[in-house]
Protein backbone atom coordinates (compact mmCIF):
# COMPACT_ATOMS: atom_id res chain seq x y z
CA UNK A 1 0.00 0.00 0.00
CA UNK A 2 3.01 2.29 0.49
CA UNK A 3 4.21 1.73 -3.06
CA UNK A 4 3.99 4.62 -5.44
CA UNK A 5 0.95 4.53 -7.65
CA UNK A 6 2.99 4.37 -10.83
CA UNK A 7 5.13 1.43 -9.81
CA UNK A 8 2.03 -0.40 -8.75
CA UNK A 9 0.25 0.24 -11.99
CA UNK A 10 3.15 -1.03 -14.06
CA UNK A 11 3.22 -4.34 -12.27
CA UNK A 12 -0.53 -4.54 -12.74
CA UNK A 13 -0.20 -4.15 -16.47
CA UNK A 14 2.29 -6.96 -16.64
CA UNK A 15 -0.20 -9.24 -14.94
CA UNK A 16 -3.16 -8.04 -16.94
CA UNK A 17 -1.38 -8.32 -20.24
CA UNK A 18 -0.68 -12.03 -20.15
CA UNK A 19 -4.14 -13.48 -20.87
CA UNK A 20 -4.87 -11.20 -23.84
CA UNK A 21 -4.98 -14.01 -26.35
CA UNK A 22 -8.03 -15.56 -24.71
CA UNK A 23 -11.52 -14.16 -25.25
CA UNK A 24 -12.13 -10.86 -23.47
CA UNK A 25 -14.45 -11.08 -20.47
CA UNK A 26 -16.21 -7.96 -21.66
CA UNK A 27 -16.11 -6.44 -25.10
CA UNK A 28 -18.26 -3.60 -26.34
CA UNK A 29 -18.34 -2.88 -30.01
CA UNK A 30 -19.44 0.62 -30.97
CA UNK A 31 -22.02 0.99 -28.23
CA UNK A 32 -24.14 4.08 -28.78
CA UNK A 33 -26.98 5.43 -26.68
CA UNK A 34 -29.02 8.50 -27.50
CA UNK A 35 -31.53 10.31 -25.33
CA UNK A 36 -33.52 12.42 -27.77
CA UNK A 37 -31.00 14.69 -29.48
CA UNK A 38 -28.24 13.96 -26.98
CA UNK A 39 -25.76 11.22 -27.72
CA UNK A 40 -24.83 10.07 -24.22
CA UNK A 41 -22.54 7.27 -25.36
CA UNK A 42 -21.05 7.49 -28.82
CA UNK A 43 -19.58 4.40 -30.46
CA UNK A 44 -17.56 3.21 -27.48
CA UNK A 45 -15.29 0.17 -27.80
CA UNK A 46 -14.01 -1.34 -24.60
CA UNK A 47 -12.30 -4.58 -23.70
CA UNK A 48 -11.74 -6.03 -20.26
CA UNK A 49 -9.63 -9.16 -19.94
CA UNK A 50 -9.66 -11.82 -17.30
CA UNK A 51 -7.91 -10.82 -14.08
CA UNK A 52 -7.73 -7.14 -14.90
CA UNK A 53 -8.87 -4.14 -12.92
CA UNK A 54 -9.94 -1.54 -15.46
CA UNK A 55 -10.98 1.98 -14.60
CA UNK A 56 -13.45 4.21 -16.43
CA UNK A 57 -13.09 7.91 -15.77
CA UNK A 58 -14.42 11.08 -17.26
CA UNK A 59 -15.99 14.38 -16.29
CA UNK A 60 -19.56 14.51 -15.01
CA UNK A 61 -22.03 13.75 -17.77
CA UNK A 62 -19.43 11.95 -19.86
CA UNK A 63 -21.69 8.91 -20.22
CA UNK A 64 -19.96 6.52 -17.83
CA UNK A 65 -23.04 5.36 -15.98
CA UNK A 66 -25.02 5.22 -19.22
CA UNK A 67 -22.36 2.94 -20.68
CA UNK A 68 -22.63 0.75 -17.58
CA UNK A 69 -26.39 0.63 -17.95
CA UNK A 70 -26.03 -0.41 -21.59
CA UNK A 71 -23.66 -3.21 -20.59
CA UNK A 72 -25.91 -4.52 -17.81
CA UNK A 73 -29.04 -4.35 -19.94
CA UNK A 74 -30.75 -1.75 -17.75
CA UNK A 75 -30.81 0.42 -20.88
CA UNK A 76 -30.79 -0.99 -24.38
CA UNK A 77 -28.11 0.43 -26.63
CA UNK A 78 -29.27 2.09 -29.85
CA UNK A 79 -26.29 0.74 -31.74
CA UNK A 80 -23.40 -1.58 -31.12
CA UNK A 81 -23.01 -4.91 -29.41
CA UNK A 82 -21.97 -6.14 -25.99
CA UNK A 83 -20.14 -9.45 -25.58
CA UNK A 84 -19.58 -11.33 -22.33
CA UNK A 85 -16.91 -13.99 -22.73
CA UNK A 86 -17.56 -13.89 -26.45
CA UNK A 87 -21.29 -14.35 -26.06
CA UNK A 88 -23.46 -11.66 -27.57
CA UNK A 89 -25.73 -10.40 -24.79
CA UNK A 90 -26.96 -7.27 -26.55
CA UNK A 91 -30.64 -6.68 -25.90
CA UNK A 92 -31.00 -9.53 -23.43
CA UNK A 93 -33.01 -8.83 -20.26
CA UNK A 94 -31.03 -7.51 -17.32
CA UNK A 95 -31.46 -10.58 -15.14
CA UNK A 96 -30.24 -12.84 -17.93
CA UNK A 97 -27.07 -10.80 -18.43
CA UNK A 98 -26.47 -10.87 -14.69
CA UNK A 99 -26.87 -14.62 -14.72
CA UNK A 100 -24.44 -14.87 -17.61
CA UNK A 101 -21.76 -13.70 -15.18
CA UNK A 102 -22.05 -9.96 -14.74
CA UNK A 103 -22.10 -8.54 -11.21
CA UNK A 104 -22.91 -4.94 -10.44
CA UNK A 105 -22.37 -2.62 -7.50
CA UNK A 106 -24.52 0.48 -7.67
CA UNK A 107 -23.40 4.04 -7.18
CA UNK A 108 -25.74 4.49 -4.25
CA UNK A 109 -25.07 1.56 -1.96
CA UNK A 110 -27.84 -1.00 -2.14
CA UNK A 111 -28.26 -3.86 0.28
CA UNK A 112 -31.47 -5.60 1.28
CA UNK A 113 -32.07 -3.51 4.39
CA UNK A 114 -34.67 -5.60 6.19
CA UNK A 115 -32.73 -8.85 5.79
CA UNK A 116 -29.83 -9.97 7.93
CA UNK A 117 -26.34 -9.56 6.54
CA UNK A 118 -26.08 -13.34 6.26
CA UNK A 119 -29.24 -13.60 4.17
CA UNK A 120 -28.01 -10.78 1.96
CA UNK A 121 -25.02 -12.91 1.09
CA UNK A 122 -27.00 -16.12 0.75
CA UNK A 123 -29.39 -14.58 -1.74
CA UNK A 124 -26.43 -13.32 -3.72
CA UNK A 125 -24.98 -16.78 -4.26
CA UNK A 126 -25.46 -17.76 -7.87
CA UNK A 127 -24.51 -21.36 -7.42
CA UNK A 128 -27.13 -23.79 -8.62
CA UNK A 129 -28.61 -21.04 -10.75
CA UNK A 130 -32.32 -20.39 -10.66
CA UNK A 131 -33.14 -24.09 -10.68
CA UNK A 132 -36.23 -24.93 -8.67
CA UNK A 133 -34.41 -27.61 -6.68
CA UNK A 134 -31.68 -25.39 -5.33
CA UNK A 135 -34.14 -22.61 -4.58
CA UNK A 136 -36.37 -24.84 -2.51
CA UNK A 137 -33.61 -26.33 -0.40
CA UNK A 138 -32.13 -24.77 2.65
CA UNK A 139 -28.68 -23.30 2.07
CA UNK A 140 -26.13 -26.08 2.60
CA UNK A 141 -23.16 -25.95 4.95
CA UNK A 142 -20.71 -25.17 2.20
CA UNK A 143 -22.66 -22.06 1.29
CA UNK A 144 -22.94 -21.01 4.92
CA UNK A 145 -19.20 -21.52 5.39
CA UNK A 146 -18.53 -19.40 2.35
CA UNK A 147 -20.69 -16.62 3.85
CA UNK A 148 -18.70 -16.74 7.09
CA UNK A 149 -15.45 -16.73 5.16
CA UNK A 150 -16.39 -13.68 3.08
CA UNK A 151 -17.75 -11.77 6.07
CA UNK A 152 -14.55 -12.44 7.95
CA UNK A 153 -12.69 -11.27 4.85
CA UNK A 154 -14.31 -7.83 5.00
CA UNK A 155 -14.13 -7.76 8.82
CA UNK A 156 -17.88 -7.95 9.34
CA UNK A 157 -17.94 -11.40 10.88
CA UNK A 158 -19.63 -10.24 14.07
CA UNK A 159 -22.51 -8.60 12.25
CA UNK A 160 -23.81 -11.60 10.28
CA UNK A 161 -27.17 -11.68 12.03
CA UNK A 162 -27.73 -7.95 12.24
CA UNK A 163 -30.26 -6.34 9.92
CA UNK A 164 -28.27 -4.94 7.01
CA UNK A 165 -30.18 -1.64 7.17
CA UNK A 166 -28.75 -0.94 10.60
CA UNK A 167 -25.17 -0.92 9.38
CA UNK A 168 -23.30 2.26 8.61
CA UNK A 169 -22.92 3.37 5.02
CA UNK A 170 -19.35 2.17 4.76
CA UNK A 171 -20.24 -1.21 6.22
CA UNK A 172 -23.13 -1.55 3.79
CA UNK A 173 -20.68 -0.91 1.00
CA UNK A 174 -18.56 -3.77 2.26
CA UNK A 175 -21.63 -6.01 2.55
CA UNK A 176 -22.47 -5.21 -1.04
CA UNK A 177 -18.92 -6.01 -2.07
CA UNK A 178 -19.05 -9.32 -0.20
CA UNK A 179 -22.35 -10.10 -1.92
CA UNK A 180 -20.70 -9.63 -5.29
CA UNK A 181 -17.82 -11.90 -4.30
CA UNK A 182 -20.39 -14.45 -3.17
CA UNK A 183 -21.88 -14.45 -6.65
CA UNK A 184 -18.44 -15.05 -8.20
CA UNK A 185 -19.21 -13.07 -11.34
CA UNK A 186 -16.93 -13.28 -14.37
CA UNK A 187 -16.90 -9.51 -14.33
CA UNK A 188 -17.77 -7.06 -11.59
CA UNK A 189 -18.90 -3.57 -12.52
CA UNK A 190 -18.44 -1.05 -9.72
CA UNK A 191 -19.95 2.39 -10.00
CA UNK A 192 -17.88 4.72 -7.82
CA UNK A 193 -16.92 2.29 -5.08
CA UNK A 194 -14.95 5.01 -3.30
CA UNK A 195 -17.81 7.50 -3.31
CA UNK A 196 -18.82 8.83 0.08
CA UNK A 197 -16.60 6.72 2.29
CA UNK A 198 -13.98 8.02 4.67
CA UNK A 199 -10.23 7.81 4.00
CA UNK A 200 -9.46 4.97 6.40
CA UNK A 201 -12.30 2.90 5.00
CA UNK A 202 -11.01 3.70 1.52
CA UNK A 203 -7.66 2.18 2.43
CA UNK A 204 -9.46 -0.97 3.52
CA UNK A 205 -11.55 -1.03 0.37
CA UNK A 206 -8.50 -0.78 -1.86
CA UNK A 207 -7.00 -3.67 0.02
CA UNK A 208 -10.18 -5.77 -0.29
CA UNK A 209 -10.54 -5.08 -3.99
CA UNK A 210 -6.93 -5.92 -4.65
CA UNK A 211 -7.11 -9.10 -2.63
CA UNK A 212 -10.32 -10.11 -4.40
CA UNK A 213 -8.57 -9.51 -7.67
CA UNK A 214 -5.57 -11.62 -6.67
CA UNK A 215 -7.07 -14.34 -4.49
CA UNK A 216 -10.51 -14.73 -6.05
CA UNK A 217 -9.50 -13.89 -9.63
CA UNK A 218 -12.15 -11.19 -9.73
CA UNK A 219 -12.13 -9.15 -12.91
CA UNK A 220 -13.25 -5.62 -12.17
CA UNK A 221 -14.41 -2.71 -14.28
CA UNK A 222 -15.00 0.41 -12.24
CA UNK A 223 -16.17 3.99 -12.63
CA UNK A 224 -14.38 6.33 -10.29
CA UNK A 225 -14.04 10.03 -9.62
CA UNK A 226 -11.41 9.66 -6.93
CA UNK A 227 -8.27 9.95 -9.05
CA UNK A 228 -5.82 8.79 -6.39
CA UNK A 229 -7.92 5.69 -5.88
CA UNK A 230 -8.32 4.78 -9.52
CA UNK A 231 -4.68 5.54 -10.39
CA UNK A 232 -3.57 3.29 -7.57
CA UNK A 233 -5.83 0.36 -8.25
CA UNK A 234 -6.40 0.15 -12.00
CA UNK A 235 -4.25 -1.76 -14.47
CA UNK A 236 -5.67 0.18 -17.38
CA UNK A 237 -7.97 3.16 -17.66
CA UNK A 238 -10.47 4.30 -20.27
CA UNK A 239 -11.42 7.96 -20.43
CA UNK A 240 -14.83 9.12 -21.66
CA UNK A 241 -15.81 12.68 -22.51
CA UNK A 242 -19.03 13.76 -24.22
CA UNK A 243 -19.85 10.10 -24.70
CA UNK A 244 -16.72 9.38 -26.69
CA UNK A 245 -13.70 7.38 -25.68
CA UNK A 246 -10.93 9.95 -25.80
CA UNK A 247 -8.07 7.97 -24.30
CA UNK A 248 -7.00 4.66 -22.89
CA UNK A 249 -3.84 3.34 -21.34
CA UNK A 250 -2.02 2.77 -18.09
CA UNK A 251 -2.58 5.20 -15.24
CA UNK A 252 0.80 6.77 -15.95
CA UNK A 253 -0.10 7.36 -19.60
CA UNK A 254 -3.51 8.76 -18.72
CA UNK A 255 -2.05 11.19 -16.21
CA UNK A 256 0.14 12.69 -18.89
CA UNK A 257 -2.40 12.65 -21.71
CA UNK A 258 -3.11 16.16 -22.96
CA UNK A 259 -6.64 15.27 -24.19
CA UNK A 260 -7.57 13.96 -20.76
CA UNK A 261 -6.28 17.04 -19.03
CA UNK A 262 -8.18 19.21 -21.50
CA UNK A 263 -11.39 17.27 -20.96
CA UNK A 264 -11.15 17.63 -17.21
CA UNK A 265 -10.32 21.30 -17.44
CA UNK A 266 -13.19 21.87 -19.82
CA UNK A 267 -11.17 22.68 -22.92
CA UNK A 268 -12.35 21.20 -26.19
Amino acid sequence: MSEAADADATSGVAEGASPTDEEAVLRTDGVTKRFGGLTAVDGVDIEVHSGEIVGLIGPNGAGKSTLFNCITGTLSADEGRVFLRGRDVTGRPEYEIARAGLGRMFQETRVFGEMSVRKNLLVAAQEGGAGVGSLLRRPDDRLLDRVDELLAYVDLGGLADVRAGRLSFGQQKLVEFAMELMAEPDLLLMDEPAGGINPSMLENLIEYIRRANEDEDATIFLIEHNMDFVMEIADRIYVLAHGERIADGTPAEIQNDQRVLDAYLGRE
Partner: protein, 359 residues
Protein backbone atom coordinates in the same frame (compact mmCIF):
# COMPACT_ATOMS: atom_id res chain seq x y z
CA UNK B 1 -37.13 6.84 15.37
CA UNK B 2 -36.45 6.76 19.07
CA UNK B 3 -34.29 4.05 20.46
CA UNK B 4 -36.86 3.59 23.19
CA UNK B 5 -34.32 3.86 25.99
CA UNK B 6 -36.35 6.34 28.06
CA UNK B 7 -39.92 5.27 27.60
CA UNK B 8 -41.05 1.85 28.65
CA UNK B 9 -38.71 1.73 31.63
CA UNK B 10 -41.11 -0.51 33.53
CA UNK B 11 -41.48 -2.85 30.60
CA UNK B 12 -37.74 -2.92 30.25
CA UNK B 13 -37.23 -4.16 33.80
CA UNK B 14 -40.00 -6.77 33.59
CA UNK B 15 -39.14 -7.93 30.10
CA UNK B 16 -35.57 -7.05 29.15
CA UNK B 17 -34.63 -7.28 25.47
CA UNK B 18 -32.34 -10.20 26.15
CA UNK B 19 -35.31 -12.20 27.47
CA UNK B 20 -37.27 -11.47 24.28
CA UNK B 21 -34.19 -12.33 22.27
CA UNK B 22 -34.00 -15.68 24.06
CA UNK B 23 -37.67 -16.25 23.27
CA UNK B 24 -37.06 -15.56 19.59
CA UNK B 25 -34.05 -17.84 19.65
CA UNK B 26 -36.09 -20.59 21.26
CA UNK B 27 -38.91 -20.25 18.73
CA UNK B 28 -36.41 -20.29 15.89
CA UNK B 29 -34.63 -23.37 17.17
CA UNK B 30 -37.80 -25.31 17.94
CA UNK B 31 -40.12 -23.97 15.25
CA UNK B 32 -41.16 -27.40 13.99
CA UNK B 33 -41.72 -28.73 17.50
CA UNK B 34 -43.82 -25.68 18.36
CA UNK B 35 -45.86 -26.13 15.21
CA UNK B 36 -46.36 -29.77 16.14
CA UNK B 37 -47.49 -28.86 19.66
CA UNK B 38 -49.85 -26.27 18.18
CA UNK B 39 -51.23 -28.87 15.81
CA UNK B 40 -51.94 -31.28 18.66
CA UNK B 41 -53.49 -28.63 20.92
CA UNK B 42 -55.68 -27.43 18.06
CA UNK B 43 -57.21 -30.87 17.55
CA UNK B 44 -58.33 -31.05 21.19
CA UNK B 45 -61.41 -28.79 21.55
CA UNK B 46 -63.76 -31.07 19.57
CA UNK B 47 -62.35 -34.09 21.38
CA UNK B 48 -63.31 -32.48 24.69
CA UNK B 49 -66.84 -31.80 23.61
CA UNK B 50 -66.73 -28.49 21.75
CA UNK B 51 -68.57 -29.65 18.66
CA UNK B 52 -71.02 -26.93 17.79
CA UNK B 53 -72.32 -23.55 18.75
CA UNK B 54 -70.94 -20.06 18.92
CA UNK B 55 -67.41 -20.79 20.14
CA UNK B 56 -66.95 -23.51 17.58
CA UNK B 57 -67.88 -21.10 14.81
CA UNK B 58 -65.61 -18.39 16.21
CA UNK B 59 -62.64 -20.75 16.38
CA UNK B 60 -63.26 -22.03 12.87
CA UNK B 61 -63.47 -18.50 11.50
CA UNK B 62 -60.30 -17.63 13.35
CA UNK B 63 -58.43 -20.33 11.48
CA UNK B 64 -60.02 -19.21 8.24
CA UNK B 65 -58.82 -15.64 8.74
CA UNK B 66 -55.37 -16.85 9.76
CA UNK B 67 -55.13 -18.71 6.43
CA UNK B 68 -56.23 -15.61 4.54
CA UNK B 69 -53.87 -13.30 6.42
CA UNK B 70 -50.91 -15.64 6.02
CA UNK B 71 -51.61 -16.01 2.31
CA UNK B 72 -51.88 -12.26 1.92
CA UNK B 73 -48.59 -11.85 3.74
CA UNK B 74 -46.78 -14.15 1.34
CA UNK B 75 -47.15 -11.48 -1.34
CA UNK B 76 -48.02 -8.39 0.71
CA UNK B 77 -45.46 -8.88 3.48
CA UNK B 78 -42.72 -11.21 2.29
CA UNK B 79 -42.58 -9.83 -1.24
CA UNK B 80 -43.77 -6.28 -0.55
CA UNK B 81 -46.73 -6.22 -2.93
CA UNK B 82 -49.78 -5.20 -0.87
CA UNK B 83 -52.80 -6.66 -2.61
CA UNK B 84 -56.34 -5.41 -2.09
CA UNK B 85 -57.68 -8.16 -4.29
CA UNK B 86 -56.92 -11.38 -2.45
CA UNK B 87 -60.61 -11.90 -1.81
CA UNK B 88 -60.96 -12.46 -5.57
CA UNK B 89 -59.17 -15.80 -5.09
CA UNK B 90 -61.43 -16.51 -2.14
CA UNK B 91 -64.57 -15.78 -4.14
CA UNK B 92 -63.43 -17.81 -7.12
CA UNK B 93 -62.67 -20.71 -4.81
CA UNK B 94 -66.03 -20.36 -3.07
CA UNK B 95 -67.98 -20.35 -6.32
CA UNK B 96 -65.93 -23.19 -7.80
CA UNK B 97 -66.79 -25.48 -4.88
CA UNK B 98 -70.40 -24.38 -4.81
CA UNK B 99 -70.83 -25.12 -8.51
CA UNK B 100 -68.87 -28.38 -8.41
CA UNK B 101 -70.73 -29.72 -5.37
CA UNK B 102 -74.22 -28.50 -6.16
CA UNK B 103 -74.41 -28.53 -9.97
CA UNK B 104 -71.85 -31.13 -10.96
CA UNK B 105 -72.18 -33.40 -7.95
CA UNK B 106 -68.51 -33.78 -7.14
CA UNK B 107 -67.48 -34.76 -3.60
CA UNK B 108 -66.69 -31.79 -1.36
CA UNK B 109 -62.98 -32.54 -0.67
CA UNK B 110 -62.26 -32.96 -4.38
CA UNK B 111 -64.21 -29.80 -5.15
CA UNK B 112 -62.13 -27.89 -2.61
CA UNK B 113 -58.88 -28.98 -4.22
CA UNK B 114 -60.42 -27.93 -7.52
CA UNK B 115 -61.24 -24.56 -6.00
CA UNK B 116 -57.60 -24.06 -5.04
CA UNK B 117 -56.40 -25.01 -8.50
CA UNK B 118 -58.88 -22.75 -10.32
CA UNK B 119 -57.75 -19.87 -8.10
CA UNK B 120 -54.10 -20.68 -8.96
CA UNK B 121 -54.91 -20.64 -12.67
CA UNK B 122 -56.68 -17.32 -12.29
CA UNK B 123 -53.75 -15.92 -10.28
CA UNK B 124 -51.20 -16.93 -12.89
CA UNK B 125 -53.06 -15.07 -15.63
CA UNK B 126 -53.86 -11.99 -13.55
CA UNK B 127 -50.45 -12.00 -11.87
CA UNK B 128 -48.49 -11.59 -15.07
CA UNK B 129 -50.46 -8.42 -15.73
CA UNK B 130 -50.76 -6.78 -12.31
CA UNK B 131 -47.43 -7.84 -10.80
CA UNK B 132 -45.66 -5.56 -13.26
CA UNK B 133 -47.13 -2.64 -11.35
CA UNK B 134 -45.66 -1.41 -8.11
CA UNK B 135 -46.85 0.29 -4.94
CA UNK B 136 -50.12 2.19 -5.21
CA UNK B 137 -50.66 1.11 -8.79
CA UNK B 138 -50.49 -2.54 -7.81
CA UNK B 139 -52.90 -1.98 -4.89
CA UNK B 140 -55.44 -0.19 -7.10
CA UNK B 141 -55.17 -2.76 -9.88
CA UNK B 142 -55.79 -5.65 -7.48
CA UNK B 143 -58.79 -3.82 -6.03
CA UNK B 144 -60.05 -3.53 -9.59
CA UNK B 145 -59.61 -7.27 -10.08
CA UNK B 146 -61.69 -7.93 -6.97
CA UNK B 147 -64.50 -5.62 -8.06
CA UNK B 148 -64.49 -7.01 -11.59
CA UNK B 149 -64.65 -10.59 -10.34
CA UNK B 150 -67.55 -9.66 -8.07
CA UNK B 151 -69.39 -8.03 -10.94
CA UNK B 152 -68.87 -11.04 -13.19
CA UNK B 153 -70.35 -13.39 -10.59
CA UNK B 154 -73.32 -11.05 -10.26
CA UNK B 155 -74.08 -11.32 -13.98
CA UNK B 156 -73.44 -14.98 -14.79
CA UNK B 157 -76.16 -17.61 -14.56
CA UNK B 158 -73.84 -20.35 -13.41
CA UNK B 159 -73.02 -18.42 -10.23
CA UNK B 160 -76.65 -17.79 -9.46
CA UNK B 161 -76.46 -14.09 -10.28
CA UNK B 162 -77.01 -11.53 -7.57
CA UNK B 163 -79.04 -13.91 -5.42
CA UNK B 164 -76.18 -16.39 -5.14
CA UNK B 165 -76.30 -20.08 -4.32
CA UNK B 166 -77.72 -21.88 -1.34
CA UNK B 167 -75.92 -25.06 -0.33
CA UNK B 168 -77.69 -27.70 1.73
CA UNK B 169 -76.45 -31.10 2.88
CA UNK B 170 -73.20 -29.72 4.24
CA UNK B 171 -70.80 -31.65 6.50
CA UNK B 172 -70.98 -31.09 10.29
CA UNK B 173 -69.22 -28.20 12.02
CA UNK B 174 -66.30 -30.27 13.27
CA UNK B 175 -65.41 -31.17 9.67
CA UNK B 176 -64.89 -27.49 8.88
CA UNK B 177 -63.05 -26.97 12.14
CA UNK B 178 -60.49 -29.64 11.20
CA UNK B 179 -60.48 -28.58 7.57
CA UNK B 180 -59.48 -24.99 8.20
CA UNK B 181 -57.21 -25.91 11.07
CA UNK B 182 -55.40 -28.51 8.96
CA UNK B 183 -55.06 -26.11 6.07
CA UNK B 184 -53.62 -23.48 8.41
CA UNK B 185 -51.04 -25.85 9.90
CA UNK B 186 -49.97 -27.03 6.44
CA UNK B 187 -49.66 -23.47 5.24
CA UNK B 188 -47.69 -22.35 8.30
CA UNK B 189 -45.29 -25.24 7.84
CA UNK B 190 -44.89 -24.50 4.16
CA UNK B 191 -44.39 -20.76 4.58
CA UNK B 192 -41.94 -21.33 7.42
CA UNK B 193 -39.98 -23.79 5.33
CA UNK B 194 -39.94 -21.48 2.31
CA UNK B 195 -38.86 -18.50 4.37
CA UNK B 196 -35.62 -20.34 5.09
CA UNK B 197 -34.89 -21.29 1.50
CA UNK B 198 -33.32 -19.16 -1.18
CA UNK B 199 -36.77 -18.81 -2.73
CA UNK B 200 -37.91 -17.05 0.44
CA UNK B 201 -34.77 -14.92 0.50
CA UNK B 202 -35.43 -13.82 -3.07
CA UNK B 203 -38.98 -12.78 -2.14
CA UNK B 204 -37.57 -10.68 0.72
CA UNK B 205 -34.93 -9.28 -1.62
CA UNK B 206 -37.68 -8.18 -4.03
CA UNK B 207 -39.44 -6.45 -1.14
CA UNK B 208 -36.28 -4.61 -0.08
CA UNK B 209 -34.93 -3.63 -3.50
CA UNK B 210 -36.39 -5.15 -6.62
CA UNK B 211 -33.97 -3.46 -9.02
CA UNK B 212 -31.02 -4.80 -7.11
CA UNK B 213 -32.54 -8.28 -7.15
CA UNK B 214 -32.91 -8.01 -10.93
CA UNK B 215 -29.32 -6.83 -11.28
CA UNK B 216 -28.31 -9.92 -9.31
CA UNK B 217 -29.83 -12.18 -11.93
CA UNK B 218 -33.31 -12.91 -10.64
CA UNK B 219 -36.26 -12.76 -12.98
CA UNK B 220 -38.43 -11.14 -10.36
CA UNK B 221 -41.69 -11.54 -12.30
CA UNK B 222 -41.23 -15.29 -12.03
CA UNK B 223 -40.78 -15.22 -8.25
CA UNK B 224 -43.59 -12.77 -7.64
CA UNK B 225 -45.98 -14.83 -9.73
CA UNK B 226 -44.97 -18.02 -7.92
CA UNK B 227 -45.65 -16.42 -4.52
CA UNK B 228 -48.92 -14.97 -5.79
CA UNK B 229 -50.04 -18.37 -7.07
CA UNK B 230 -49.18 -20.03 -3.78
CA UNK B 231 -51.23 -17.38 -1.96
CA UNK B 232 -54.08 -18.04 -4.39
CA UNK B 233 -53.91 -21.78 -3.74
CA UNK B 234 -54.55 -21.42 -0.03
CA UNK B 235 -56.95 -18.50 -0.34
CA UNK B 236 -58.94 -20.32 -3.03
CA UNK B 237 -59.08 -23.55 -1.04
CA UNK B 238 -60.18 -21.62 2.05
CA UNK B 239 -62.90 -19.96 -0.01
CA UNK B 240 -63.89 -23.37 -1.30
CA UNK B 241 -64.38 -24.54 2.28
CA UNK B 242 -66.17 -21.37 3.28
CA UNK B 243 -69.03 -21.63 0.79
CA UNK B 244 -70.22 -24.89 2.37
CA UNK B 245 -69.36 -23.79 5.89
CA UNK B 246 -71.57 -20.76 5.36
CA UNK B 247 -74.21 -22.82 3.43
CA UNK B 248 -74.74 -19.79 1.25
CA UNK B 249 -72.68 -17.81 -1.21
CA UNK B 250 -73.45 -14.61 -3.10
CA UNK B 251 -71.28 -11.93 -4.72
CA UNK B 252 -71.25 -9.88 -1.52
CA UNK B 253 -70.02 -12.64 0.78
CA UNK B 254 -67.70 -14.30 -1.73
CA UNK B 255 -65.87 -11.13 -2.73
CA UNK B 256 -66.07 -9.33 0.58
CA UNK B 257 -64.04 -6.12 0.34
CA UNK B 258 -64.31 -5.50 4.09
CA UNK B 259 -62.73 -8.89 4.74
CA UNK B 260 -59.92 -7.94 2.42
CA UNK B 261 -59.22 -4.93 4.62
CA UNK B 262 -59.54 -7.06 7.74
CA UNK B 263 -57.02 -9.63 6.62
CA UNK B 264 -54.53 -6.91 5.70
CA UNK B 265 -55.06 -5.37 9.14
CA UNK B 266 -54.45 -8.76 10.72
CA UNK B 267 -51.14 -9.20 8.91
CA UNK B 268 -50.07 -5.64 9.76
CA UNK B 269 -51.01 -5.91 13.42
CA UNK B 270 -49.32 -9.26 13.87
CA UNK B 271 -46.25 -8.33 11.89
CA UNK B 272 -45.72 -8.71 8.15
CA UNK B 273 -42.98 -10.84 6.68
CA UNK B 274 -43.16 -13.41 9.45
CA UNK B 275 -45.02 -16.69 9.87
CA UNK B 276 -46.34 -16.12 13.38
CA UNK B 277 -47.28 -12.48 12.82
CA UNK B 278 -50.29 -12.82 10.50
CA UNK B 279 -51.58 -15.79 12.52
CA UNK B 280 -51.29 -13.95 15.83
CA UNK B 281 -52.84 -10.89 14.21
CA UNK B 282 -55.74 -12.95 12.86
CA UNK B 283 -56.43 -14.62 16.21
CA UNK B 284 -56.14 -11.35 18.12
CA UNK B 285 -58.11 -9.12 15.79
CA UNK B 286 -60.83 -11.68 15.16
CA UNK B 287 -61.30 -12.08 18.91
CA UNK B 288 -61.58 -8.32 19.29
CA UNK B 289 -64.03 -8.09 16.38
CA UNK B 290 -66.18 -10.86 17.85
CA UNK B 291 -66.28 -9.17 21.25
CA UNK B 292 -67.13 -5.84 19.72
CA UNK B 293 -69.79 -7.38 17.51
CA UNK B 294 -71.61 -8.89 20.45
CA UNK B 295 -71.04 -6.09 22.97
CA UNK B 296 -71.14 -2.97 20.78
CA UNK B 297 -73.15 -3.91 17.74
CA UNK B 298 -72.27 -1.89 14.66
CA UNK B 299 -68.95 -0.55 15.95
CA UNK B 300 -66.68 -3.25 14.57
CA UNK B 301 -65.43 -1.21 11.60
CA UNK B 302 -64.66 1.73 13.87
CA UNK B 303 -62.67 -0.54 16.18
CA UNK B 304 -60.95 -2.11 13.20
CA UNK B 305 -59.95 1.32 11.90
CA UNK B 306 -58.69 2.38 15.31
CA UNK B 307 -56.67 -0.84 15.67
CA UNK B 308 -55.02 -0.26 12.29
CA UNK B 309 -54.15 3.35 13.12
CA UNK B 310 -52.70 2.44 16.51
CA UNK B 311 -50.64 -0.33 14.92
CA UNK B 312 -49.32 1.69 12.02
CA UNK B 313 -48.39 4.65 14.22
CA UNK B 314 -47.23 2.84 17.34
CA UNK B 315 -45.90 -0.48 16.09
CA UNK B 316 -45.24 -0.11 12.37
CA UNK B 317 -43.74 -3.57 12.32
CA UNK B 318 -46.61 -5.25 14.12
CA UNK B 319 -46.46 -7.30 17.30
CA UNK B 320 -43.86 -9.81 16.15
CA UNK B 321 -41.79 -7.30 14.19
CA UNK B 322 -41.72 -4.76 17.02
CA UNK B 323 -40.74 -7.41 19.54
CA UNK B 324 -38.01 -8.57 17.19
CA UNK B 325 -36.74 -5.02 16.89
CA UNK B 326 -36.82 -4.66 20.67
CA UNK B 327 -34.94 -7.93 21.13
CA UNK B 328 -32.30 -7.03 18.59
CA UNK B 329 -31.89 -3.35 19.42
CA UNK B 330 -28.54 -3.81 21.14
CA UNK B 331 -27.24 -6.34 18.67
CA UNK B 332 -25.38 -3.85 16.53
CA UNK B 333 -23.79 -2.05 19.46
CA UNK B 334 -22.92 -5.25 21.27
CA UNK B 335 -21.13 -6.56 18.27
CA UNK B 336 -19.57 -3.16 17.82
CA UNK B 337 -19.52 -2.49 14.11
CA UNK B 338 -16.05 -2.57 12.64
CA UNK B 339 -14.42 -3.26 15.99
CA UNK B 340 -16.10 -6.64 15.99
CA UNK B 341 -13.89 -7.83 13.19
CA UNK B 342 -10.80 -7.39 15.30
CA UNK B 343 -7.69 -7.95 13.26
CA UNK B 344 -6.51 -5.15 11.09
CA UNK B 345 -9.68 -3.13 11.40
CA UNK B 346 -9.11 -2.73 15.12
CA UNK B 347 -5.76 -1.09 14.50
CA UNK B 348 -7.34 1.54 12.27
CA UNK B 349 -8.06 4.89 13.83
CA UNK B 350 -11.67 4.12 13.02
CA UNK B 351 -13.36 7.43 12.37
CA UNK B 352 -16.64 5.78 11.65
CA UNK B 353 -18.92 4.97 14.52
CA UNK B 354 -21.93 6.58 12.81
CA UNK B 355 -24.08 3.70 13.89
CA UNK B 356 -27.39 5.44 13.27
CA UNK B 357 -27.44 4.55 9.59
CA UNK B 358 -30.56 2.46 9.63
CA UNK B 359 -32.60 4.34 12.19
Amino acid sequence: MSTGSEEGGALRSILPPSRVDDLFGFCGDHAWALLGVGAVVGTLPPVFGLREGYYMTVLTEMYLFAILALSWDLVGGQTGYPSFGNMAFFGIGAYTTAILVKDVGIAFPVAMVGAGLVAVGFASVIGIAVLRLRGHYFAIATLGVLLAAQQVSRVLDITGGASGKILLDVPPGTAFYYLFFGLLIVEMGLVYYLSNTRFGFVLNAIRDDEEKATAMGFNTTYYKTAAWMLAALFTGAAGGGYSLFNTFIDPQTAYNGAWNVELIAMALIGGTGTVAGPVIGAFGLHTIIEIVETAFVGWQLVILGAAVIVTVVGFPKGVVGSLGEYAGEMEYYKRGGMAAGGGEAASDPEAEPEVEAGE
